[in-house]
Subunit: 469 residues, 2 copies
Amino acid sequence: MTGSTPDVIDPHAEDLEDIALGDDYALTANYVDMVVDAADRGDTARLRALVHALRAEDVADLMGFLSADYREDIIPLLDAEELAEIIAELDTNLREEVLESVPPKQLAAALGELDSDDAADVVDDMEDQQRAEVLAEMSDVDRAAIENTLAYGDETAGRLMQREVLAAPQFWTVSQTIDHIRAAGDELPDLFFDVYVVDPSMRPVGAAAVSALLRAQPEAKLENLMEQVTEIPVDMDQEEVAYIFDKYHLISAPVVDIGGRLVGQITVDDIVGVIQDESEEDILALAGVSDAGRDATILDIARSRLPWLLVNTVTAAVAASIIGAFQDHIAKLVALAILLPVVASLGGNAGTQTLAVAVRALAARELNAANAFRIVRREMSVGLMNGIALATVLAGATFIWMRDPRLSLTLGLALIVNLFLASVAGILVPLTLDRLGRDPAVSSSVFVTFVTDFMGFLSFLGLAALILF
Amino acid sequence: MTGSTPDVIDPHAEDLEDIALGDDYALTANYVDMVVDAADRGDTARLRALVHALRAEDVADLMGFLSADYREDIIPLLDAEELAEIIAELDTNLREEVLESVPPKQLAAALGELDSDDAADVVDDMEDQQRAEVLAEMSDVDRAAIENTLAYGDETAGRLMQREVLAAPQFWTVSQTIDHIRAAGDELPDLFFDVYVVDPSMRPVGAAAVSALLRAQPEAKLENLMEQVTEIPVDMDQEEVAYIFDKYHLISAPVVDIGGRLVGQITVDDIVGVIQDESEEDILALAGVSDAGRDATILDIARSRLPWLLVNTVTAAVAASIIGAFQDHIAKLVALAILLPVVASLGGNAGTQTLAVAVRALAARELNAANAFRIVRREMSVGLMNGIALATVLAGATFIWMRDPRLSLTLGLALIVNLFLASVAGILVPLTLDRLGRDPAVSSSVFVTFVTDFMGFLSFLGLAALILF
């Protein structure tokens, strides 16, 4: 929730600003090269000019494109406020590294410049000892706000919310409310979009948009301007919060404690980040990989990807054991070994298609008990239809190539069976995981690929044993 | 940009509202059953009560869970404003179906209730004849606004923006601005978050947040309150617009024409939908499937998934031809046929992991020419390390099982080669597609899987021919 004040200091800054960002508003490779060049030459004045021509968000981006040595050249050039804004924008891994290189006193000053939610987010990424030292340097009020925020669970509404909030009783008029806002000053958030109308026990009863306040006559009462609010419980998971904001097109929403009392607000700009994070997680989870961060070491990255590959090793070995069971048949007819991977590969692809559709529909809550049966039946029909289509194409091609009608028949039947089962697995596996309260993106594809490999091999070789031998 | 006014009419509505949504704020399966039950019994009063207990967004959700017959029972129960809000929330496929069942005059009245961007979005989904009939029923002003919006390209800023916007000259004071807002009424958007400060040729020079206006003294000048604005060109792609909103945490931004003049505004709630859509597209594209919509027929869905499966058929057949080239070796040593799919499968998985990481990083603009070389080198090292790890495990297991040291060596070397090449393909394919200006999510995985299948077969069988025979 920071405004977008530029940090223009240098006289040449205007020109630099123009070349820093490409047409797509991303930092250009050319600008990164200029920064590296200035740092290599030890030209601090030039480096300072280059850095100060950027907004905080772009400096954070720049950090991501540089290696650690260059980052250390840049940090001393920043004042407390600049440092705070940049740290708030950094990815976790980079942030941890940058935090280690700044003295506690300077960090405490920087954090004092941030809203309570952003400051708590940064403190959360510190090592225990550094956290204690930095909190000791902060004012009692700032420290208490950060500690209270950190008391809420990770990825909950309590962590996302700002404590600063604008509340007013329903009998107030517009002009009373505006007078209150002018007098309140620093207690209010930097930006706000709604006045929460509360009863005497601080329970929200409605909300008036700031634009409605401006448009109304000064003597109008808040209770006549307010609309229904959607309250967010303080312990709600951030993915739920994002769903509600997206669904009802909310700009801000009041956060309430277990007694229904107003304790803070969440604004949509925090939610945009959550939505990005959650869908990135889904993309990576479906591929069996987690985001190790831009600055993780090669060993960290390799280690983070190995578990899934080991699971896949076991499932591939089990599937391969099916081939072992039919090795006498393969020795007699090597064409089976040639066609085998085709059956498994097409099943794998069809299963992945169904899986991606199911994971997306579950994430968008378009798939639940009300329509699950209809969707499962739909996917089974689609699998069967495409199985028949591919069976026709491939059985035909195999016949032209090998002139063996029984081999072609075997291949065709195996493809139909495998594509049907691929669709069944592709929809039932994520549905089941979801019903069990687990994330359907995380482990679905290992199950689905196992089913399509195992059943692909079994159906093709089993049918071959029946039809060909 | 609709507020959240409930449509409470029925005396029992309060109770129904409580049971309509689950803890996760999604419509419950139970509620959908109640709607189906009321429709089956022809109990219109009950159906009306059930529908009117929901907000427009939830009625749109309900439509998605029902089949077409039930939707037709519900539409006549809605008045023009309710219908407009629900149509604005529907997915394209459902919307087309619903639009067909409403007479032009009623549709024109409904669209008059919406903001220009939402109304244009609905009109865009109509058949040509219906569009002409509906536009003929509308007022000249509304029709011109819709036609002007539709003149902008699909998925551009011009389509996303509202024409209603609050602009003021920089010499105005806060109190002059508030007087203008009170007088302007309907010309202003329903909700607004910023006053755009413009020069005499209507070029934005800054923006003042509405909350800053409320907080300032009445005699303060706008030029002293305003901050820098990020202007959005009217022809910018919506994905770019979303990137800018996310990066700079914007709540609203002015849209300018080619001469830099203010022509509208985009607000963050429109952007949340764009971000959701774009990342859903990436998840589906990586799996080689497009979203056919909840209400597409089974034939449509099967057809939409077939092209990718056919491409995969060709690549799988080419890869299988490698096996054909080595069939004499396989006939002599069937163990090769058993281990072959394991090599290909692990390569495929490692390639998919790298690919997902690369597609995510490209989408987040964390990967460009400035760091591409470093990231490619990193991925190659990771591929090599995990290749060595898996080679050790599998060569060892194969030795214990088959007691053939040369076969184990062959398998191990093939795994190292294939995992290395999988990483190279996983990063270079999406980077190359991106450099060519194509979406790296769309066709990457067909290339990568082809490389890992082809090279997996070739490396294992080629090494086997060298080492074992």
